[in-house]
Symmetry: C2
Subunit: 503 residues, 2 copies
C-alpha cells in the first residue's frame, strides 16, 4: 500500500509540476507577454492542458485511488494520507466525469462567448451576447448532469468552486444578509456627505504607488523571496508554486485606493498560498480550501484590517513618505474615513464592502433563475436593472454598466459569484474568533505588527491547505458554520459610527 | 501522403507548443523568478522535458517520417515538405539514438558538475572540478558513440551545435585565423595608447542605460509588439515563439558598453528569430540554422554595425539624450574609437572582436585533446595558461580567471565553442556580400536607416529558417563556403587604421 501511495504521489507530482508550468504561462499572459505573442501562448496552454488532463485521468491513477482509498482513510480522517486521497478523489472524479468531447465543446463555446461578450460590452449591445449566454446556460446544465446527476444542477456547479456548498444554504443566507444590510445602506444614503474620500483624490505618481504597495504587502508578511508584485490591467494572484506566488496590482493616477486596496486584496490571497505547508507542495492538498475561504483571506486583509482605524494610523506615515506633501493636512481619522466612503453604485468591482454583497445577491438570483428556466435570457437585462433599483436604488444607463459588466458568464462560470459573498461573511467570523484568541488586535495593527495576526490565520486556516472541505475547515478552525450575523454586525457597527446614524 | 503529413504536423505542433512553454519557463527563471522558486521550477521544467521527449520520440512519429520522407523529398529539395522532413528527421534521429537512461545519467552529471564548477570557480580550485570534467569527457564520448559511431567523436558532438561542421574543416580554419590575427594583435600592443575608451567610463544611471538600449534595438528593427527587453545577470535571447522573442541585457554603472553591446548582440539573435517566417511557426524549420549562423547575426549587429564609424555618428545624439552633459565633449570619432579599444585580456566574455577568437582557438585545442585522450584533465590548467601566454601574452593569476572561467564544459557542452568563431567569420562574409548588393551601407547606418540592412539579412538568411544546413544556406545566400579571409581583412583594415600601424 505504501508503495502504491508512493506511485500515486509520483504520478500526481508530475501533473502538479505541469500545472505549475501552466500557472507561470497564465501569469505571464496577463503581465509581460508582448501583444502579438497571444496566439502562440494559446497553443502552448492548450497543449499543456491536454497533456495534463491525459496524465491526470490516466486509468492507472483511478485504479490506484480505488486500491488505497480505504487504507488511507483508516489512518484517520486528519492524516496526510486520508486527506490526500479525499482531495485527489474529489478532483479525479470531477475530471473523469466530463467526456473529452464535452470539454472541447465547452472550451470552444467559452472562447466564442468571451469574444462576443467583449464586443457586446464595448457596444453595450446585449443582443449580441444573448445567444452565447443561452449556450452557456445549456452547457452548464449538461455539465451539471455529467458531474452529479443526482443533485440539483446549481449545486453540482457550486461544488466546483465551493465544495460542499448548496443552494439551500445560500437561499437561507442571502435574505438574512439583505435584510441586515438594508438599514445600513439607508443610513449611509441619508448621511452621504459625512464621509469624504477627498484625501485619495489627486495626482499620484504611479511608480510611487507601486513602491507604497510593495512596502504595504511586505509589512503584512508577503515574502519577496517567494513571490513578486507586478502591474496588470486586472489585479490577480497567480504563480507557479508555494515558493513562487505572484500578485499584481494596478494604478490610477487620480485615485490612490485602486492600487493600495487591490494590492492588499491580492496579498491576502497570496498569504494563504504562501502559508500552504512545504510538505503539501505538488500534492492535491496544496493551496486553499475553496474560493470562498480564499476570498475570506483577501477580504480580511483588504477590508477588516486594511480599512480599519488602526491601519490608517499605521499607514499614514507611509502615505506621507511616498507622496511628500500630499498627506500633510490629512489626519489619521481623515484617512480612515476616506478608506470607508460608501456609496451605492453600478459596478461590482468598484463597490465598497457595504454594498458589494447586493451585487452578488442579484447575480445569484439571476443565474439560478436562468438555470431553472424561469428567466429567459432575453429578459435578463430588464430583471437586472429592476433588481439594481430595488437593492441599491441605482439604474444602469445601458447594458454595459448593467448585465454585461462581468466576464464570468462568458467564461462559462455559473455558480462562481456566491463565493465572493461567502468570503465576506467568513472574514467577519474569523475576525471575531481572532479577537477572542488574541485580544485587542487594534493595538497590533496600529503598530504595524501583523505577524501575530498572520500567524493566527496560518495556524487556523493556512496550515490545513486543502485537507478539508471549506465548512469542515471553518468548523475546525473556529467552531462555527458560515454565518451572516457577524458580518452584518461588523458592517452595522462600523458604518453607523462613521456616518453617524442609529440602527 | 498529404494526410500523413498533416498528422505528422499535428504531432509536431504539440511538441513545439510544449517547447514554447519550456522557453517561457527558462526565460522567467533567469529574469523574474523569485529566488526560492528555483526548486519547483526545476521540477516543472523536468516534467515538461519528460513529456516533450516522450511525445517527440513516439514510435508513430518515426513511422510517419519513414513513410513520407521520400514523398516529401520528391517535391523538390527547396520545398517546404522536403525541408520539413529533413529537419525533423535530423532532430528525431538524434533524440531517439540516446537511451533514456543515458539522458538521465547525463542530466544528473551535468547538475552535479555545474554545482561543482560554481564552487570551484568561486574558490579558484580546479581540483574540485577535475573529476566532473573527467566525467563530462567520458559521457560526451559515449554520447558521440550513440549519436554517430561511424564519425570521429568530436564531429558527432559538433553536429549537435553546427550541423555539417567537422573537425577537419576547423583544423584548417583556426591556424589561418591565428596567423591572420597575430600581426594585428602585435600592432595594437605596440600602439596601445592610441585608442581610449574613456568616454565610456563614468557614472551612468542604470535606468537611462536601459532606455538607451530599448531605443537602440528598436531602431535596429526589434519589434516590441513581438518581444521584450529585460535585465538579467547574463544576457541571453529566449522567448516562446517567433512572436514572443525576449532579449536581456545587463548594466554596469561605471562601464556603459556592457549594456549597449550586450543589447545589440542579443538583438542580432532576436532579429534572426523574429525573421523566421510565420508559416514555419511550430514546425521543425522554425528558427535559425545552427549556432554559428545565429552568432553571425548577433556579431554582425554588435560589431560590424554597432562598432562602425557611421554607427557612432548616428548614435552620439542618443548617448547625449540619455546622459545629458556626459557626452558633450565627445566627438563621433571619440565614440567610434572608444567602442573599438582592443586589449589582450584573460576573460573570453569581455574580449574584443580582435582577440575573441584566440580564446576560442585555445578552448577548441583543449577540448579536442581531452576527447582524444592526449591531454589529461589534471594538466588542463597548465596547458590553458601556456596557450594564453602564447596567443595573447597574458597569464591567468589563478584558475578562476583561467580554465574555470566558462560554464560550458560543466553543462556537458563539448563542441560548442567553435560556433562562436564561425559566427565571427560569417559576419564578415555577410558584410562583404551585403555591400556588393546594397552599395555603401555606411551612409544608411549614419542615418539610422537599418531597414535595408535587416531586409537583406532577412531575404538571404532569416527567411529560410532551418530549411538548410548552415553551410548549404551560406552557399545559397552568398555563394561562399565559410572563409577566414574576409574576417581577417576586416579586422586588419579596421584596427591598423585605428591604431596607426602597417600590416
Amino acid at each position: 500500500m505504501e508503495k502504491k501511495f508512493a506511485e500515486l504521489r509520483r504520478r500526481f507530482e508530475e501533473v502538479a509540476a505541469l500545472g505549475s508550468a501552466g500557472g507561470l504561462l497564465g501569469w505571464d499572459q496577463r503581465t509581460y507577454m508582448p501583444p502579438k505573442g497571444a496566439e502562440a501562448r494559446g497553443k502552448a496552454l492548450a497543449a499543456l492542458e491536454e497533456v495534463l488532463h491525459a496524465k491526470f485521468t490516466a486509468p492507472e491513477t483511478g485504479r490506484l485511488i480505488a486500491e488505497i482509498y480505504d487504507w488511507a482513510q483508516a489512518k484517520g480522517h486528519d492524516s496526510f494520507e486520508a486527506s490526500y486521497l479525499r482531495a485527489l478523489k474529489r478532483d479525479y472524479d470531477k475530471e473523469v466525469k466530463l467526456p473529452a468531447e464535452f470539454v472541447a465543446e465547452f472550451s470552444l463555446a467559452c472562447t466564442a462567448a468571451y469574444e462576443a461578450w467583449h464586443k457586446a460590452r464595448a457596444a453595450s449591445d446585449f443582443s449580441a451576447f444573448a445567444p452565447h449566454l443561452e449556450k452557456m446556460v445549456r452547457l452548464n446544465l449538461r455539465k451539471a448532469q455529467y458531474l452529479a446527476p443526482a443533485l440539483q444542477p446549481y449545486d453540482a456547479l457550486l461544488d466546483l468552486y465551493e465544495p460542499g456548498m448548496t443552494r439551500a444554504k445560500l437561499d437561507a443566507l442571502f435574505p438574512e444578509l439583505l435584510a441586515g444590510l438594508k438599514p445600513v445602506i439607508r443610513g449611509i444614503a441619508a448621511n452621504k456627505d459625512k464621509v469624504s474620500d477627498a484625501p485619495f483624490r489627486g495626482d499620484f505618481d504611479e511608480a510611487a504607488q507601486l513602491r507604497l504597495a510593495d512596502e504595504l504587502v511586505k509589512a503584512l508578511g508577503f515574502d519577496f523571496e517567494r513571490g513578486r508584485q507586478d502591474k496588470s490591467a486586472h489585479p490577480f494572484t497567480g504563480g507557479s508554486s508555494r515558493n513562487d506566488v505572484r500578485i499584481t496590482t494596478r494604478t490610477l493616477k487620480d485615485w490612490l485606493p485602486s492600487c493600495v486596496y487591490a494590492s492588499l486584496h491580492e496579498c491576502g490571497h497570496a498569504l494563504y498560498e504562501l502559508g500552504s505547508p512545504e510538505e503539501f507542495e505538488f500534492t492535491p492538498v496544496a493551496g486553499g480550501a475553496g474560493l470562498g475561504l480564499h476570498e475570506s483571506q483577501s477580504r480580511f486583509w483588504e477590508n477588516v484590517i486594511g480599512r480599519s482605524r488602526p491601519f490608517a494610523r499605521w499607514a499614514l506615515p507611509l502615505y506621507r513618505k511616498h507622496f511628500p506633501g500630499k498627506f500633510d493636512g490629512v489626519s489619521e481619522e481623515d484617512l480612515y474615513r476616506a478608506a470607508n466612503h460608501s456609496e451605492s453604485s453600478l459596478i461590482r468591482v468598484e463597490a465598497d464592502e457595504v454594498t458589494y454583497n447586493l451585487h452578488i445577491a442579484l447575480r445569484y438570483e439571476l443565474e439560478t433563475l436562468l438555470l431553472d428556466g424561469k428567466l429567459k435570457v432575453k429578459d435578463a437585462p430588464e430583471l437586472w436593472n429592476a433588481k439594481m433599483k430595488e437593492y441599491l436604488g441605482v439604474t444602469p444607463a445601458n447594458d454595459a454598466e448593467g448585465v454585461l459588466q462581468d466576464v464570468h458568464w462568458s467564461q462559462g462560470m455559473i455558480g462562481y459569484f456566491p463565493t465572493y459573498t461567502l468570503g465576506n461573511l467568513v472574514s467577519a467570523q474569523l475576525y471575531g474568533a481572532m479577537k477572542a484568541d488574541l485580544g485587542d488586535t487594534d493595538a497590533l495593527v496600529a503598530k504595524g505588527e501583523f505577524a501575530p495576526i498572520l500567524g493566527w490565520l496560518g495556524k487556523k486556516i493556512h496550515v490545513h491547505g486543502r485537507k478539508y472541505l471549506p465548512e469542515e475547515l471553518l468548523q475546525k478552525a473556529i467552531g462555527e458554520k458560515i454565518q451572516v450575523r457577524p458580518f452584518v454586525e461588523y458592517i452595522g457597527a462600523k458604518y453607523s459610527e462613521l456616518y453617524g446614524f442609529r440602527l
